[in-house]
C-alpha cells in the first residue's frame, strides 16, 4: 500500500497491476445519455494504463454509425469522439456480428475500424475480462 498508487498493491513480477477492463455498450445514442457518459468513462480510463476494450452490442452498435447529424435536436454530435479513441491508445473495439446484421448494418456503416466477432467469440472474450462496466 502506498499513497502514490492509491493502495494498489504492485506485483514486482509484472511491474504493476494491469487489469482487463471491458466497457459494454448496449444503448443507442441521444435517446438516453448512457452512450455519451459511457464514452466519458472510456476516455478517462486511458490515463490509467489498463488493458481497455470496448464492446458494442445490440443498440450499442448505433453509437458508431456514420452520418450522425444532431444539430436539429439541439445536442452535441459526439460520434467523432470515437475516432479520437485511437489517440488515447484505445484500439480494441469489438462489435458483435449478429447485432450488426439484425440492424441491417455492415462495417461499412461504421465510423471507426472495429473487429467483428461472432456471439460465441464475444462471449468468450467477455468471460476473460476482470472488470466489466456496462451502461
Amino acid at each position: 500500500m502506498s499513497e502514490t498508487t492509491g493502495g494498489v498493491e504492485f506485483d514486482e513480477e509484472s511491474g504493476g497491476a494491469i487489469k482487463k477492463f471491458m466497457f459494454v455498450n448496449r444503448k443507442a445514442p441521444y435517446g438516453t445519455i448512457y452512450a455519451l457518459e459511457g464514452l466519458e468513462v472510456v476516455l478517462i480510463s486511458a490515463a490509467f494504463d489498463q488493458d481497455v476494450s470496448m464492446a458494442f452490442l445490440d443498440d450499442g452498435v448505433y453509437e458508431i454509425v456514420k452520418g450522425q447529424h444532431t444539430k436539429a435536436i439541439g445536442m452535441k454530435n459526439f460520434s467523432p469522439t470515437y475516432r479520437a479513441l485511437e489517440g488515447y491508445d484505445i484500439e480494441k473495439l469489438y462489435v458483435e456480428k449478429e447485432s450488426l446484421e439484425r440492424r441491417g448494418l455492415t462495417v461499412d456503416n461504421l465510423i471507426v475500424p472495429v473487429e467483428v466477432l461472432t456471439s460465441a467469440e464475444m462471449g468468450e472474450l467477455m468471460s476473460q475480462q476482470e472488470v466489466l462496466i456496462s451502461f
Partner: protein, 101 residues
C-alpha cells in the same frame, strides 16, 4: 463469469442477448434479479429461452424479487433461488460480473 439480468424478457432483449453470448462459455452462471425474475416463471414465453440457457449455464433467481412480484409458486424447476447473501457469494465465486442493463 456471472451474468446479471434485471429486465423482463417481455420488455427488453437483455436476457436473449445474454444467453446468445454466454451459452457455451465454460463456468458461466446467470442470476435473474428485479424484473428479470419474470423470466423464471413456468409456462411463460420465456421458458424456452431459459431451458435453452440452462443446458450450459447455471441459473439463479433472487428470491426477494421473486416473492415481491408474487411469482413464488410458478418458478421453473432447476432455477436455484438465492437471497442477497447468496447473490454476493455468486459474485465472489465468479471471476467477474456483467450486468445486462
Amino acid at each position: 463469469m456471472l451474468h446479471i439480468v434485471n429486465k423482463s424478457p417481455f420488455e427488453s432483449n437483455s436476457l436473449e442477448s445474454c444467453v446468445r453470448l454466454a451459452s457455451g462459455v465454460e463456468g458461466s452462471a446467470l442470476i435473474l434479479i428485479e424484473d428479470g425474475v419474470y423470466a423464471a416463471t413456468k409456462g411463460s414465453a420465456a421458458e424456452e429461452l431459459i431451458k435453452k440457457a440452462a443446458a450450459t449455464l447455471k441459473i439463479y433467481a433472487l428470491w426477494p424479487d421473486v416473492e415481491a412480484r408474487g411469482m413464488q409458486d410458478g418458478c421453473i424447476e432447476g432455477i436455484k433461488l438465492v437471497d442477497y447473501s447468496g447473490f454476493v457469494e455468486l459474485v465472489a465465486e465468479h471471476n467477474a460480473a456483467q450486468s445486462w442493463l
